[in-house]
């Protein structure tokens, strides 16, 4: 009987694991715990979320050099970091594309772009394209706001930076800012998930 029970437990555990893997493939939803990583920055050093002892959370943005939507948001991403890094929510930018398919997104091009635009945050290469599928990023730019909790870095917001890709001056709703502001105040996030057009992440077929 004991063996039978043990078997049941094992089967149940396998079923759970299988289910978890399946969920991961689709990426995170709000409330999930985001994985940490160790990715190469444009200065050659490895960066992990765990390096940020003082941070209260993170604004993780999957972005790249070659997507016009990402380019349209570069200044606004810098502004987000300048505004929120000191409040405990630094921007961590991750470039998810295959660099053979998009040479304009390779580490040298990333370094040049970061310098030209005055990036104040790490710009990491998702080498091996291992991290973005776990988050469930499908396009650039794609934002994940994380909050440090006892359980880990909890996903609090997924989606767009704001509601106007064309014109930063004509923005009505700053979704990412609103999400971080709510976290800072300890309030509910009004729009925890938003959508925007972006460039599909480039993967070898």
């Amino acid at each position: 009987m004991k063996i039978f029970k043990l078997c049941l437990v094992v089967v149940f555990a396998i079923a759970l694991t299988a289910f978890a893997v399946k969920t991961d493939a689709k990426g995170y939803t709000v409330g999930d715990i985001a994985t940490d990583f160790s990715l190469q920055n444009i200065d050659g050093k490895k960066v992990s979320l765990a390096d940020y002892k003082e941070a209260r959370g993170f604004i993780v943005i999957f972005t790249c050099n070659t997507c016009p939507y990402s380019v349209a948001y570069e200044d606004r991403i810098v502004a987000l970091d300048k505004k929120y890094a000191s409040k405990g929510y630094p921007v961590i930018a991750i470039m998810p594309n295959d660099t053979d398919l998009k040479p304009g997104d390779n580490i040298d091009a990333m370094r040049a772009r970061a310098k030209a635009k005055g990036f104040t945050f790490p710009y990491l290469l998702d080498e091996g394209q291992d991290i973005y599928p776990q988050y469930g990023a499908t396009k650039t730019p794609h934002v994940y706001v994380l909050q440090k909790t006892k359980k880990g870095n909890e996903v609090k917001y997924i989606g767009a930076i704001d509601d106007n890709y064309k014109d930063a001056d004509a923005v009505n709703e700053r979704y990412t800012e609103a999400a971080v502001n709510s976290l800072l105040k300890g309030e509910e996030i009004k729009n925890p998930q938003t959508r925007a057009i972006g460039c599909s992440i480039k993967v070898k077929s």
Partner: protein, 180 residues
């Protein structure tokens, strides 16, 4: 509407203007801008989502293939010829292709129109210019994260949405589900 456009194009031709921008407000919230250039005389209709919605929800007997793309989107440009093939080869089987460009408005003249002419695109092309993406992306399909390219194939109430790139074969396989 077609009559108005026809009259307008006559006017443009007879006036021999180098360029005319016409904005018309339909009775609904829909907006249609028609940009014409006599140099190539290519007419591009520009819609907001309310204007586009009737074009991607037609209740006729045709099979509609709607592809969301942009000239800056490499995988979109790669698969565009496959949609062109569908448009010509399946026309007689009641298939209609609509290419919805998400190019930036500043690029309509310089990039989009020249692309259409250079590649001899025969499918109908319209442009969607609506910044409230958070509203219309989910209105087009709940599952769409917003990545390009994306495609809808529909006939009446049967409707499939694809947030992916196609090969010619894959596209035809999906289309054939609707031709039975």
């Amino acid at each position: 509407m077609k009559l108005i456009l026809f009259v307008l194009s006559l006017c443009v031709l007879s006036c021999n203007n180098s360029e005319t921008h016409t904005a018309k407000s339909a009775p609904t919230n829909a907006k249609v801008n028609t940009v014409m250039t006599s140099a190539n005389n290519y007419k591009l209709d520009v819609y907001d989502y309310n204007g586009l919605a009737p074009l991607i929800n037609k209740k006729d007997d045709q099979v509609h293939v709607v592809n969301f793309w942009a000239t800056w989107c490499a995988p979109c440009v790669k698969e565009l010829p496959y949609f062109e093939v569908i448009n010509t080869q399946y026309k007689n089987e009641g298939v209609e292709v609509l290419l919805v460009s998400l190019d930036f408005p500043k690029d309509y003249e310089t990039k989009l129109k020249s692309f259409i002419l250079k590649h001899n695109i025969t499918s109908k092309v319209v442009a969607l210019d609506d910044t409230d993406q958070n509203r219309w992306i989910t209105a087009i399909d709940q599952s769409w994260s917003g990545a390009l390219p994306a495609t809808i194939i529909y006939k009446g109430d049967k409707r499939n949405f694809y947030e992916q790139s196609f090969t010619q074969k894959e596209l035809e396989t999906e289309l054939k589900q609707f031709l039975k």
